[in-house]
C-alpha cells in the first residue's frame, strides 16, 4: 500500500516539476530585470561620450530614467488606457451580437468564419499591420479617404483604434461565442414559448446566464488591446517627435498629444538607449497584464486561450 502511495506522489511530483519549471522561468524572466531600472556606472560613462543626448543626460541617469517627472510617461499611459477602453467598447458593441448570431443562428459558411477568426490569432502581428496599411493606403480605401479628406493611418483617433481593434475583436468574439455556446438554448425557447420576443429572451435569459463569460471576454479583449504592438507600430508609428501643430485641440485637451502607445514606447525608448525608462514602462505593462489575467482566472474564463 505504501509503495503505491509513493509511486503516486512520485508521479505527482514529476508533473508538478514541469509546471514549476515554467513558473520559475516566467517569474525569473520578469524579476531578474528589476535591476534594469537602476542606472549602473557603465551606462553613465557611455552617456558621457555620446553628444546627442545633451541635457537629457542628467534625467536619464536617475532611477528609471526619471519617469515620474516626464509628461510623456503619463501621457502615453493616458493615451493607451483611453484608446483601449474605447476599443473594448467598440469590440463589445459589435462582438456580442455577432457572437450570439454565430452561436445560435444558421449562418452559411460558419466553418469558414471559424477558420478565419482563429487563424487571425496565430497570424504574425507584422502581417496584420501590413494588411491594415495595404488595405487603407495602397488599396481600394485610399480613394475613399481622399474623397473624405481624412486619413486613417498614422493618426491617434481612428488609427490606433482600428489597429488595436483587429485582434481585440477576434479574441473577444471567440470568448463571447464560447460563453453563449455554454448556455443551453432550451431556456430561451421556454422564455419564447411563454410569450417574450427574441430580443427579450436574449436580454433576460441568456445574457444573465452568460454573464461571467461575457465579463471574461471583455477583460480578454481589453488585455489583448493593451498587448497590441505590431499593428500599432505599422499602422500608426510614433508620435513623440511630431510638432505640436500636428495634434488637434481635442487630443491636447485630453493630454494625449506627443505620446505613444505604451508597448511601442518601450521599444522606442530601449532602442534610443534610455533603457531604464523603457523598463519602467515595461513593468507597467507587466503589472496591468498580470492583474487582468488574474481576474480572468478568478472568473474561470472559458474559451480563452491566447
Amino acid at each position: 500500500m505504501s509503495g503505491k502511495r509513493r509511486s503516486r506522489s512520485l508521479f505527482n511530483l514529476f508533473f508538478t516539476c514541469f509546471a514549476g519549471l515554467l513558473f520559475f522561468y516566467s517569474a525569473y524572466l520578469f524579476l531578474s530585470n528589476l535591476d534594469q531600472l537602476f542606472v549602473d556606472q557603465a551606462a553613465v560613462e557611455t552617456r558621457e561620450i555620446i553628444e546627442v543626448w545633451g541635457e537629457d543626460r542628467e534625467i536619464m541617469n536617475e532611477f528609471g530614467g526619471g519617469f515620474w517627472k516626464d509628461a510623456y510617461f503619463w501621457k502615453s499611459l493616458n493615451l493607451t488606457f483611453a484608446i483601449t477602453v474605447l476599443t473594448t467598447f467598440i469590440a463589445a458593441v459589435l462582438g456580442i451580437p455577432a457572437a450570439y448570431g454565430l452561436s445560435r443562428y444558421k449562418i452559411p459558411g460558419k466553418s469558414f468564419i471559424d477558420v478565419l477568426f482563429s487563424s487571425l490569432m496565430v497570424m504574425p502581428g507584422s502581417v496584420i499591420g501590413i494588411c491594415l496599411i495595404v488595405m487603407f493606403n495602397y488599396g481600394p480605401l485610399w480613394k475613399l479617404q481622399q474623397a473624405l479628406g481624412f486619413k486613417f493611418a498614422h493618426s491617434i483617433f481612428p488609427g490606433m483604434v482600428i489597429a488595436s481593434l483587429v485582434l481585440s475583436f477576434a479574441f473577444g468574439m471567440s470568448a463571447w461565442k464560447a460563453a453563449f455556446d455554454s448556455v443551453n438554448p432550451r431556456f430561451e425557447q421556454i422564455a419564447r414559448s411563454l410569450g417574450s420576443n427574441r430580443y427579450r429572451a436574449f436580454r433576460t435569459v441568456t445574457l444573465p446566464l452568460a454573464k461571467s463569460g461575457i465579463v471574461a471576454g471583455i477583460i480578454l479583449a481589453w488585455t489583448r488591446a493593451m498587448a497590441e504592438f505590431s499593428a500599432v507600430l505599422f499602422f500608426c508609428g510614433t508620435f513623440r517627435e511630431l510638432p505640436p501643430s500636428r495634434f488637434s485641440d481635442l487630443t491636447k485637451m485630453l493630454q494625449m498629444d506627443q505620446a505613444d502607445w505604451v508597448s511601442v514606447a518601450v521599444w522606442a525608448q530601449v532602442e534610443f538607449g534610455n533603457v531604464e525608462y523603457g523598463f519602467a514602462l515595461a513593468f507597467v505593462l507587466v503589472l496591468v497584464g498580470g492583474i487582468s489575467v488574474y481576474a480572468m482566472h478568478r472568473i474561470g474564463a472559458k474559451g480563452y486561450v491566447w
Binding site: L21, S26, L29, S32, L120, S126, A282
Partner: protein, 266 residues
Amino acid sequence: MTLTSRGGWWPALCTTTVGAVLAVYVLLVASNWIYLGWHDTLYFFSKSRMWERFWLTVWTATVSTSFSLIIGIPAGYALSRFRFPCRHLFATIIDLPIVVSPAVVGAFLFGITTRFPFDWISEHYTIYIGRNVYGVLLVQFTVTAAFCARLMKATFDMIPVKFEMVSNSLGASPARTFFKVILPMAKNGIIASMIVVWARAAAEWEGLMLFVGATEGKTDIMPFAIYLDWNGGMMGWVTSMSIVCILMAVSAISAMKWIGGRSNVW
C-alpha cells in the same frame, strides 16, 4: 403581429453584424492579393530568397515547438489535475509571457541571458544565446511554452477524471494510467494543439526586434523579414511574404479544425 413586436429585428441585427465584420476581415486578409496581383505573386514565389526564409521559419518553429511540448504536456496535465493553494496566482505568472506584449518580453530576455543558467551555458559550451539563431529559438520557446501549457490544460480538462479513477481502482499505476488511458484519449487534442503552437511559434517576431536583431539569412524568420523589408521599402517582398504567412496560419488552423480541435476552447 409585426416583425418588430416579435423581436425579429434582433436576429437580423446579429446576422448583419456578422456579415459586416466578416466583409471587413476578408478585405483585410485579401488586401495583399488585391495589391500585388497574380503575376507578381508568382514572380516573388519563384525567388529563392523567399524559400530560404520560409525554411528558416519552418525549422526554427519546429525545434522550439518540440521543446515547448516536452515541458508543456506535463505542465498542462499538472495544471489541469492538481489542486494546490494560490493556483490562480501560479497560473497567472505562467501566463505572463504570452499576455504582455511580446516586444516587452524581448526586452526582458536581455536581462535573463546575462544571468545564471545562460551565462553558465555560454561559458562552458560556447553557445552564445543572443544575436543568432539560438536567440530566435529562445524567443519562440519563451512565448510558446506558456501557450502550449495553456492549450494542453484545455485538452486535459476535456477528459473526465472518471477514467483515471477507474483505471487506478483496477490496479494500474499512475504512470501506466497516464500512458495507456489519458494520452491515447488526449491524442487528437494534443496533435491539434501542437499544430497551433507551431503556428504561434512561426508567427513570433516582436521579441526578435529588441533581443535578436536581423542578420540576413540567419535570423530573419518570415514575420521579422516583413518588418525589415518594410523598412527597406520593398513593398513587393513585404506583401508576398505576408501572403505566405497568411497561408501558413490558415492552413495550420484548418489542419487543427480537421483533426478535431474544439472551437470553443480556442
